[in-house]
Subunit: 188 residues, 3 copies
């Protein structure tokens, strides 16, 4: 009998260690609630605003937020003006046709050759809703991580210096690893 007790008791330290291991693994799963990942593929003003409103909300709640800007989403994080020298003809043409920065984005509906965005900016201003420009600045100040998609930049001939300051450049692996640390990943 006393032998049996000794046996069982000997198991206990093993159990304690195991419990500690489980605790750490659970904590890692719970920590996903502290991160949010967004793929920003759209360059429409309304969808980009949606992305940055959610990002700012999450940052204000103390979460880590990463936005992966790809394809048309790169339009939103371009500098308002940059030289397109040193690029091929097609790249220059595409860059010339695409909007440069948040103030030039079209709306996905009711764009009306650029009147829509002005209209919405005016209506937002009247209700004291921050414009996209300030939403983006706020988010960057609050620690938003922006990763620009290397492959899209290559295809469209966009260079890192064409993008707003503080942006990193990365690939799909960077996105996936961030997404797997996040409970929520949005494709916008």
């Amino acid at each position: 009998m006393s032998n049996e007790i000794t046996e069982k008791a000997k198991e206990t330290p093993g159990v304690s260690e195991k419990v500690k291991e489980l605790d750490e693994r659970i904590a890692k799963l719970e920590a996903k609630n502290n991160s949010l990942s967004i793929v920003l593929m759209s360059g429409d003003m309304d969808r980009v605003m949606g992305a940055f409103i959610i990002a700012n909300g999450a940052l204000a709640m103390g979460k880590e937020v990463t936005i992966f800007a790809t394809f048309w989403g790169l339009d939103a994080i371009k500098k308002p003006s940059f030289s397109t020298s040193g690029r091929g003809f097609l790249e220059r043409m595409v860059l010339w046709m695409r909007p440069k920065g948040p103030m030039k984005l079209p709306t996905s509906k009711m764009n009306f050759a650029g009147i829509g965005p002005k209209l919405f900016r005016y209506m937002m201003g009247k209700k004291n809703v921050e414009g996209l420009n300030s939403l983006m600045e706020m988010a960057m100040e609050f620690g938003l991580k922006v990763v620009a998609c290397q492959m899209s930049m290559d295809v469209m001939g966009i260079k890192k210096e064409d993008l707003i300051d503080g942006v990193e450049v990365g690939g799909v692996a960077a996105f996936l690893s961030s997404s797997y640390k996040s409970n929520t990943t949005l494709f916008i």
Copy 2:
């Protein structure tokens, strides 16, 4: 020796309590599979249908579903008609131009000035697929929670009474807290 056993055994109740704590934390993580969150930003008939088909499927499987309607997604949950009195000129103009309710939504492709939605409704009816109207009613009866985005409503001058009955009004914090209780969050 027997002292050592006593020592180890004394640890056991602490371990039991810890194990109970871990059990509860795991259950909380597992419970995420019982919830689904959707951001409905699109007001295109086909995308709204996608949202409500997924919502109905999840509700039928006993899950809690929350749809956050924002920007154009508000078009889907508007009443078929409401007075726009007591609003500014721009708000009235925008409300007048936007579709009111599920029967007026355009399709994202093949809209052809409104023929597309009629065509798809006819083709869906022939295959006994529920229309958007009934999908929405079914979902509400099954306990779907619909939260309309306060900020979008403010900007476009939409009031709570313009929206279908049973809709709540909330902000980005409400969305995030629901998303963090859900394994799956879709941005539609």
Copy 3:
């Protein structure tokens, strides 16, 4: 005293079993990082490319990837040509108007009556970025699971033999069960 020790020690095996159970439940939650689910509702070349670039990245990292193709997303997985005989007039008309397969998809922006997709294919080729066609073939070879939405197929009169080989057909329940095994679900 020795009685008390016996009592506690008797609890230990129960604790060990419980710890094993918790371990398995945590492993199941952790396993979600090995899966990725995508709803592909869009049939725009750029968005479809986004879906398959992410899918290939995840497959290369050893993850299980499931794409649920629905609505316009079915365009991407159609065979380049198939007979539309044995279908109603409206179904034939819609099938005739929709693109057939990855080489015929329009871009969501800058489509210019089909010049856009050719332009982007050319620019991608110059930068040695795989075209959509090879991205799709690569993904299928790497074990991508593609599930076509039964309901959309019914409504548009699409048959299983109209779709590329290796595609399964399923409903919203199949999507939800895959999504609940995945940490990340994207709606594209």
